[in-house]
């Protein structure tokens, strides 16, 4: 799509505008806090202190961020190819099936550092497989990927309920979850890293999945901006027509992009299962796949931005829990509202403030906005 807007300097494009959008989202969230009769400024202080005030707060923040990095990257990879993968939730959930089977099979025989790679492959494969069918249908039969991935979220939920009340749970138990994994499928914690800085941590679930998430962020950057495949994906995302003229196979690029996206979404399941709960339970994803949409939009689809946005959302989750404790009128659902507002202002309304910013830049230094400035103001 040709952009109807004039160019801004890069720092304004990637720094200023997201910050303005984010600020507006939080101001509106502040009004919601006022609506339930609490002081938004005090709420903000409690939230930040809850997330970063103590060592275990930081560890929890990073633990939540880990999952969101995966889901954010998943959304971003698909988005670079012009596809909206709204199915991260289902792809992550179904990956729990793979993880569950691998862990139950190997946790008594293998050490964690052998189970972990197998589980990574299993989760990525399940996620990729779950994205494959919508991708194939989009590429070959033109079915809208948004609708099919939503449908696959629901199908995944049904499959997982079937598996968890059926063959995955131990026969003696009533609860729809697997038995607790043995040591061979429990990932080591990373809390000692934070303790190096002098903080005390009693128990927090931060684990080596965080490192895996950072590695994946780097690999995604490499893929998108430093490989031929990434170039093809971006080309297709910008203009399917141009890609077709350049001889890029539409089917191939859609399917590959969606499978990578699905694999990343699948890997997000490692963190809560092997890293924290040590089992696969009903609804263990609990919306993290959808948070990825907000994270990816806020991070402007760049891995660095996504890691930062994921940490911000981790902060909201951890701080939000503290907030719900301190202010009974505010429940943890405040985060869901903030998430929605971020998606609205950083995603759907991302161009709302752009004309004003452009006008401002144009009035200070017309040259920084280029010649199209006059046209841009009208848009």
């Amino acid at each position: 799509m040709s952009t109807p807007y004039a160019k801004l300097p890069a720092w304004a494009d990637y720094g200023l505008i997201p910050v303005i959008n984010l600020a507006v989202a939080f101001i509106v969230a502040g009004f919601v806090v006022m609506l339930v009769g609490e002081n938004p400024f005090r709420a903000a202080v409690i939230l930040v202190e809850g997330a970063f005030g103590r060592g275990s707060g930081i560890a929890f923040t990073l633990f939540y961020a880990t999952t969101f990095i995966f889901s954010g990257l998943s959304v971003a990879v698909a988005a670079h190819c012009g596809l909206f993968n709204i199915g991260g939730e289902g792809q992550g959930y179904i990956a729990g099936l793979g993880i569950g089977i691998v862990c139950l099979a190997f946790d008594s025989v293998l050490p964690w550092w052998l189970t972990f790679p197998i589980a990574i492959v299993a989760s990525a494969a399940m996620g990729a497989l779950w994205a494959l069918i919508p991708a194939y249908l989009q590429a070959k039969r033109g079915s809208h990927i948004v609708i099919t991935t939503i449908m696959f979220n629901f199908i995944a939920a049904s499959v997982m309920v079937y598996a968890l009340v059926g063959f995955l749970k131990p026969p003696s138990s009533m609860a729809p979850q697997t038995r607790t994994f043995l040591d061979g499928a429990q990932l080591p914690k990373l809390n000692w890293v934070i303790e190096l800085f002098g903080a005390k941590i009693r128990s927090a679930p931060l684990n080596i999945c965080f490192l895996l998430a950072l590695v994946m962020a780097f690999l995604v950057w490499l893929l998108i901006w430093r490989t031929r495949l990434g170039y093809e994906m971006r080309t297709y995302g910008h203009s399917p027509k141009a890609a077709r003229y350049a001889g890029i196979s539409e089917t191939r690029i859609i399917i590959i992009a969606m499978m990578i996206s699905g694999a990343l979404a699948g890997m997000m399941a490692l963190n809560p299962t092997m890293g924290d709960q040590h089992n696969v339970a009903l609804d263990f994803v609990s919306g993290a796949g959808f948070v990825g949409i907000a994270v990816a939009l806020m991070g402007r689809l760049h891995p660095v931005g996504i890691v930062l946005a994921a940490i911000l959302f981790g902060m909201l989750y951890q701080g939000g829990a503290e907030l719900a404790f301190e202010m009974p009128a505010i429940s943890r659902d405040m985060i869901v509202i903030i998430q929605g507002l971020v998606i609205l202002f950083a995603g759907a309304l991302e161009h709302m403030f752009r004309p004003y910013v452009q006008a401002l830049f144009a009035s200070f230094s017309p040259r920084s906005v280029g010649i199209e400035a006059a046209k841009g103001k009208g848009a």
Binding site: I155, L341, L344
Partner: protein
């Protein structure tokens, strides 16, 4: 006779379960026919359900509840319009945002205002829409075959059920027999042509979204004020998405929409009825399979194996006057 009674019961609950789907599906019909994708049906139903139940229990009036449900739902539809029509944002992103805001704010406001864990207070008899018993329903119940059909299936529903089924022919009439409908369909297929004719694309799409908001508001009110005597958190439980599936299944046509929603409602009713009972031939069908069936059917349909579903051509594309 037992089998017959069982069938009547399943069909009766089919009607009850398909009404919210039908209203949401018709809501989606208006906006998608006008070229605006609306993933936010779910969220709008949810805020409608919450606003309806909250207002009904505060003002002790079902009608005020319904009015409030429609008002808030339309307001959310206008947010969608503001983002996707005025600011030409991504319609899907905007819809997702609305679902999130709806899910979070209904629970949080419910908790802050009523402190019952996100529920609204249980509605008293006058605060919800009661079932209407048609004349002679009880007297005719004893008549074989026709009696139970009249007494169970036709009589004994709330006003919103009858309203929902009346909106189907009405929507058909609006879309295919009025000038507004013609323009609305045109704006979903070729907005540039409508623009050339001197009609405002944006205003038409806004009006379509108002229709959407009204219908999702009624759908929400049905959930919280008829089906359930109060609001429960996340009570839409994916119905907005099933409605979207039904809309595709119905190929964006109102009468088809009714049949698609009845089918999905029937599957739902059947899965409740069949829980744990083995079928002849097939044996015991897992409940989860029945629950997943509407989604699987939609995917198969989308894949083009049961006829082709062709969406309105300009769907999802923001209209830019000049390029």
């Amino acid at each position: 006779m037992d089998l017959f009674n069982a069938i009547i019961q399943v069909l009766d609950s089919t009607i009850r379960l398909s009404v919210p789907l039908l209203l949401a599906c018709l809501a989606g019909l208006y906006s998608e026919r006008a070229g605006v994708f609306d993933i936010g049906l779910e969220g709008k139903m949810l805020v409608g359900a919450f606003a309806g139940a909250a207002a009904a229990s505060v003002f002790h009036s079902a009608l005020i509840g319904l009015g409030m449900a429609i008002l808030i739902s339309v307001a959310f539809a206008m947010i969608h319009g503001f983002a996707s029509i005025t600011h030409r944002g991504n319609q899907i992103v905007s819809g997702v945002a609305i679902n999130f805001i709806a899910a979070g704010s209904t629970i949080m406001l419910g908790q802050a205002w009523f402190s019952q864990g996100g529920r609204t207070p249980a509605l008293a008899p006058g605060e919800r829409f009661e079932a209407i018993n048609w004349p002679g329903a009880e007297a005719l119940r004893a008549v074989p075959i026709l009696g139970p059909i009249y007494a169970e299936l036709i009589s004994g529903h709330s006003i919103l059920v009858y309203l929902a089924f009346l909106i189907v022919p009405f929507t058909w009439w609006v879309l295919f027999r009025t000038r507004f409908g013609l323009r609305l369909r045109a704006v979903g297929e070729n907005p540039a042509a409508v623009d050339t004719a001197g009609i405002s694309v944006a205003w038409l799409r806004y009006r379509a979204l108002i229709c959407t908001g009204v219908l999702t508001g009624i759908a929400g009110a049905y959930l919280s004020m008829v089906q359930n005597g109060g609001f429960v958190k996340d009570m839409t439980a994916g119905k907005g998405y099933i409605a979207l599936a039904a809309l595709i299944f119905a190929k964006w046509k109102p009468v088809n929409a009714m049949f698609a929603c009845l089918l999905f409602g029937f599957l739902d009713a059947l899965s409740i009825r069949l829980q744990g009972t083995p079928l002849p031939v097939i044996g015991k069908v897992p409940v989860q399979f029945m629950q997943a069936l509407p989604y699987v059917l939609t995917v198969i349909l989308l894949a083009g194996f049961i006829g082709k579903a062709i969406p309105p051509r300009a769907g999802g594309v923001p209209y830019v006057k000049e390029r």
